[in-house]
Symmetry: C2
Subunit: 356 residues, 2 copies
Amino acid sequence: MQTLQLDLGERSYPIHIGQGLLQQPELVTPHIRGKSAVVVSNTTVAPLYLQTTDAMLTGLKHSAAILPDGEEYKNLDTLNQIYTHLLENKADRKTTLIALGGGVVGDMTGYAAASYQRGVNFIQIPTTLLAMVDSSVGGKTGVNHPLGKNMIGAFHQPQCVLIDTDTLNTLADRELSAGIAEVVKYGLIRDPAFLTWLDENMDGLLARDPQTLTYAIYRSCEHKAEVVAADERESGQRALLNLGHTFGHAIEASMGYGQWLHGEAVATGMVMAAQMSQQMGWLGADEVAYVRHILQRARLPVDPPAQMSGEDFARYMSVDKKVLDGTLRLVLMKSLGESIVTADFDPDALKRVLQG
Amino acid sequence: MQTLQLDLGERSYPIHIGQGLLQQPELVTPHIRGKSAVVVSNTTVAPLYLQTTDAMLTGLKHSAAILPDGEEYKNLDTLNQIYTHLLENKADRKTTLIALGGGVVGDMTGYAAASYQRGVNFIQIPTTLLAMVDSSVGGKTGVNHPLGKNMIGAFHQPQCVLIDTDTLNTLADRELSAGIAEVVKYGLIRDPAFLTWLDENMDGLLARDPQTLTYAIYRSCEHKAEVVAADERESGQRALLNLGHTFGHAIEASMGYGQWLHGEAVATGMVMAAQMSQQMGWLGADEVAYVRHILQRARLPVDPPAQMSGEDFARYMSVDKKVLDGTLRLVLMKSLGESIVTADFDPDALKRVLQG
């Protein structure tokens, strides 16, 4: 087992990564302060891991809220199901919520914890690669609105994150690839050597080799932890983590949440960011091709949906959270492994990229 | 004009109190950092004060979201109307929300500000006495759930609070009395001299004498500011502000939100707290009678609804936020003007009070 400490002052917490961690209650129980816990999971994950999770909570009053599975349920209605479960089970301010599932479960559980009785504790147990390397670390929580993704939410840090790599054995191939998109992202943002390592070890990742997965997750969490610790509330450096996301969110919103996986949309979004970086004169054609290559090796889509026009992109990107005072900011690559946030670009160049 | 500074470190903010402040845009505009503002009001207050408020925002991009009026609309559905308005009007992270109305508008606008894009700025312009002396100060925001009041929310401090006493001229008599309940509360919690002043000046308050109102509001805000500054997140002293609220919330929930005004329920709740304090041997019968007397002078109800049984109270009180780890805590009076929070009481004594 490896442990990373996310350093956020009084909101600091450990991230444990390794095999068989769901069999180690001593990793979780010290972080539960009250006498009760509520596990939030979904109809896909609960049959696989709820029993093991419940066994960790022996001696505590606990219950489980099981949500429907899918990004299309990441909304206020489903959130309200969690509140109702908490109230029906007399959860109080010392109750700890435990998110058992992927990013959707983690984001919604975290937001329920941020807002139930104005804030209770929670623990993340991510069971998808995407959630392990991205959404479970950093404290961003929330739900979607029909007019925009993650438009409702809060910053709320968990008490600990428990990453059991064994849970990836039940993950669908497509979900695994979507997770790898975010792993590749860390390489593109700030770690050229990791990018090379990923190129060399992509087969091992796809074959779910435990050592390869563990290293990729650890390194990804380390990158995310460093960025988040430097900038908890996303005023500056943290925005780099959105590489590919402004384009990707537009794809997800336009296609309807749940049609494209988040990681798939981000993969295509990163290719578009690379193309925009080429328009800026920062990347060469061979580097754009390399970005496409490594994502294709991870079996990810690299071209936007045929039915999306440039206008579709422009419309959805205009409500993106990176728009400040009406100015669109993009995360672009100065080189492979070095990204920046900029609002200083030629709108016509962006139009060319959006029109494909 | 009088100005109180609520001292919360980097979240400190001024509370301006006086006549004609809605005609002084220079009090508000320094607190708007972006180029856009969204006023949130309701169908009762907007026809009276929206035009004046809009005039303060000249030069900024601004719009208004008008909600239905009433505690029964303080829920996730109405909150979602605010989100939809913000998204349709392309509000971004630098947009400032302005709450123009009573406590319901203030709580919902504050919570929308806490959660829209994970947090934007907001300003409180309370137009009811209750909101002026209570909900607009201290940063508690949120909405109700069918199973409990204020069960969903966040701590989110405004950038400033603007209290224009002129707006009380359009307030219904019943609403004015409900506000006086919270003013009396500060006397009962921590200020015997203020209680005496209120007894002597109750006629002036009911007649809406500007000087009398200004002093009562200023003193109430001062008390609330002192308590909140000492205990922003309600781990200890802040809980004293809930005098009468545990009983009162049960009345509101049992009767259906909106039937009893919050202040009316709190008035009756404070009488019940006094009766429980008598059971504890802390107050004499004459002091309980004095609590009834001063609230009756303010034209407030002092007896629980006839149709509520002791069991009704017990059921609704069991989900109250003051229940920690299954232990019910009550705010009780050691003497008039000195309250404490305690879980150390005889359940049978409570039962006697609840059964009336």
